[in-house]
């Protein structure tokens, strides 16, 4: 029995014939089970929710793009700043190193390699230890305390130590080809004055007030 016959027989509503149909439950289902069609408004609802979903995905794509772009921007700004700093700052870096040497010399027990107030003792002491002869001077009001060997930025340097009341001044000097302009800066409350001349670089560091430190420097440079 095919499905059309089944359908025709069922329409007769004759129980005896209908009984016969039971040999083909598959046919009955195909012909008599309801095929539910979607309500007409459902398609519109679905289209709406899909387009919402698509635009939110679209939006989130842009959002991610925006986030990625701003991260990139931030990274590049940071990098540029870092580059700028490192470009601007060999001087600042050097100042940091000089200050470290100064603080280190005061913090430990190693302020002086050669404790002497006599410039003629201190100067020869460096002889043979470094390949340059630092200019050791006796200065009015700033007693010489001695000398020390330092190492700044990978180069040996002479540290001449002067006193002023209870303050200590480290005057660092080492040979350098480049001549730098006079400079002064304050780092962590310490004053640093630097200059160059005769193929040498000089850095004077102290917690002494700036005026007196300048006084010290000009005295040293005059002599």
């Amino acid at each position: 029995m095919n499905c059309e016959t089944a359908q025709r027989l069922m329409a007769t509503n004759d129980p005896a014939l209908a009984q016969h149909l039971l040999s083909c439950p598959s046919c009955i289902t195909r012909t008599h089970a309801r095929y539910y069609e979607a309500p007409p408004e459902l398609e519109q609802k679905i289209r709406r929710s899909l387009s919402n979903e698509a635009s939110s995905q679209h939006g989130s794509q842009w959002r991610w793009l925006a986030i990625a772009a701003s991260l990139l921007l931030a990274a590049s700004v940071a990098w540029n700043v870092a580059m700028l700093r490192s470009r601007v700052d060999p001087e600042r870096l050097l100042a940091g190193n000089v200050l470290s040497a100064h603080v280190r010399s005061l913090a430990g027990t190693h302020l002086l390699d050669v404790p002497s107030s006599d410039q003629h003792t201190v100067k020869p002491w460096f002889d043979g230890k470094i390949d340059f002869a630092p200019d050791v001077k006796a200065l009015e009001g700033f007693p010489l305390l001695g000398g020390r060997l330092e190492y700044i930025e990978g180069h040996p340097a002479a540290a001449l130590i002067y006193g002023r009341d209870k303050h200590t001044i480290n005057l660092f000097t080492w040979p350098s080809a480049a001549s730098a302009a006079d400079a002064s800066q304050t780092l962590n409350g310490y004053h640093l004055l630097s200059w160059s001349g005769n193929g040498m670089t000089f850095w004077a560091v102290s917690d002494l007030n700036e005026t007196e430190l300048r006084q010290f420097v000009s005295l040293y440079r005059q002599k």
Partner: protein, 171 residues
């Protein structure tokens, strides 16, 4: 893929099967309101996972999403023996006499509807996919994620039940 193109492609390949989706959801949930919700939910899910669509039959792919959506929902509601469905236990011999007597009262040849609705979920699903969607055993097996043998035995049992249900209604 460009979102606008993705949507267009989805509407073109999947949206035309709305009736099939709704019909399956309607038979599985057995009411119009839930069927609408399930269909809408299934379409959203399908759209979100449209990337897994490999250009196969859009209808079978969508029906798999619909049935998973319905099963998840039915399981959550906990009023359907979905999880621990035992083929043996649900054999024709084990029908609950109570349900049977209800069916006998309700069922008539003209109300085949009730007989199909009274089928256990997995049987009902197999019958709808086979008789109403006219899908192959293989397609049904892929949609319902059971072996073809299981599909065939479910169909055989479902038909036998229908036959009994109808016979009861006519006697």
């Amino acid at each position: 893929m460009d979102p606008a193109r993705r949507l267009a492609l989805f509407e073109q390949t999947v949206l035309p099967h709305l009736n099939a989706a709704y019909n399956l959801a309607r038979w599985l949930t057995r009411n119009a309101h839930d069927a609408e919700d399930m269909t809408q939910e299934a379409y959203l899910r399908a759209f979100r996972s449209f990337d897994t669509f490999q250009g196969q039959d859009g209808r079978a792919w969508l029906l798999a999403v619909v049935r998973n959506t319905c099963f998840t929902w039915l399981r959550k509601r906990g009023n359907q023996p979905v999880e621990e469905f035992d083929e043996q236990m649900h054999g024709a011999a084990d029908e609950s006499p109570n349900a049977e007597s209800v069916l006998i009262q309700q069922a008539a040849l003209g109300s085949l509807q009730e007989c199909v609705e009274a089928l256990p979920l997995e049987f009902r699903e197999a019958i709808v996919l086979r008789e109403l969607e006219e899908l192959s055993y293989k397609e049904i097996s892929e949609i319902t994620r059971v072996p073809v043998g299981t599909v065939m035995s479910r169909l055989a049992r479902a038909r036998k039940r229908l036959q009994e249900c109808l016979a009861g209604a006519l006697s």
